[in-house]
Amino acid sequence: MCHPARPAATLLRVSIPTREALTERVFQLLRDEILDVDGSFTARSNLLEAGLDSLAVTQLMLSIEESTGVWVDESLLTPEHLESAEALAALLYEQLSGA
């Protein structure tokens, strides 16, 4: 879902990555910039258990917006989407593809 304050979001879009690239990007953002995790954190680790909270999710969404130009409304998220970086990336890919 595009953010209402960004009606021209799709015009600003830089590029929509492939699903695999998006998964890798989400995983890297979480591991390197948002979460304080050790080497055991993988793309299949549970994000809530790893400490992801509302602020972190918003920061992640803003990073995604920065690289794709599309805002994904965080209210679309359910606990299932935060079971792993893979699951989250799947939702993002679905939203970005449909934007």
């Binding site: 400490g51 509302s54 965080e74 209210s75």
Partner: protein, 448 residues
Amino acid sequence: MRGVPPQLPAHLPLTGADCFLRAFEHEIRRCAGSSHSSQLVLRLGPGFDAGIFTKLVEQVARAQPIVRAPIRRRLGVGPPAYCTRAAARRPLPEVAVHDSPAPDAALPARFAARLNQPLSLRRGELLRFDIVRYAGGAAGTDLAASWAHLLFDGAGSECFVRWLDACFRGAATPEITPDPNELAPAERPERSLRERGEGATRWQRWVSALGDPPMRSLAGPLRRTRQSLRYDVHTFSTQETARIVASAQRRAGFLTPMLFYLSVAIRAHHAVFRARGVDPGSFVVPLPVNLRAKGAAAAVFRTHTSLLWFHVPSSETGSLDALLAVLKQQRLDAIRSGHVENGVYAMDFARFAPTRLYAHLARSALRGELCSFFFAYTGEFLDGLDHFLGSEIRNGFHVAPVPPSPGSCIAMSLYAGHLNATHVFQDDVLTQREREIFAAQLREDLLA
């Protein structure tokens, strides 16, 4: 350095958020003769041993000088700091044990009275406990931990309780090694001094703009009056709470239920203004943001927060869902603008300012007001901890402090399937009738 664990420096500077709270502390002492104290309450079942608890507190205080460290500016300049070297000469935290014949649904009056008794930061009076035993403890015990708000934030106080319990069970020792975040709150990404300065300036401009249109709190602008805080605890049944939690998640999203609770709190305050026939103009409310590193070991001491400010014209409080939509948008805009980080930078720079100037600046943007009211939602309280020192925890919650102006604060949390909404207020700010109006609106919106 005798008595000081090697991990803690002799002078541990306060964080920016600590200094923010220290400014309140000084202002309340100066204008209201009291302190900015927080409280955590545990309502316990039978079997709690006050003697064991007292001994445990002594062990922890001897091992962790920060809990009784005088707070001063080093050589009168620079940011204020915990003087951990001087802590060993300070008294241990007070543990007062009282007896009462029978348990009561209402909390002991001495708990609220504690909030109005001054602490001396300069003398290291930072933490104390009140224990009320019913029938010698056989019928249960109420425990209140009261502390200078800058010693712990809400999350830190829960970490402290968990740690005490872990020490009791032998799962931890009083000589814990401070988490690195204890010494320097997590911050990422790194910013240059210039970037921090620019961010702090942007934050200051943002906060200054909150005064337009003007707002007023229930208490009105800063006044000299003796602090006389009381509180009402509204506890909802498990059935009601399940309904409330589902409603909060459906309306605000499962990650941001606090916005639902904040909407409800704004409307409860507005109901009182309506009953008075007064238009507050707008509502200005700060929301604490937990800045602990996501997923890192929890920092116990000091406050690790920034503030997100919300500013809503009173005309937009008519519908709960419309108000919620405004708050969601404002939260997103503030995070997008970097105001979470900017707030940290601003508070860090202000550490060097004289305390009175600090408090003056905080109020000058809002014509003598600080905000409409204080609000906190801390989610699950002591999540997963159902016993404390071997005694069942029947209920537990936070009591957040508030200066005589704005005079009203509401803190919400969940324990064992119950929502607790603790409304703290200055005694002369709300009449009995207004307290009933507030509670009725709160209940109506939560269960809407």
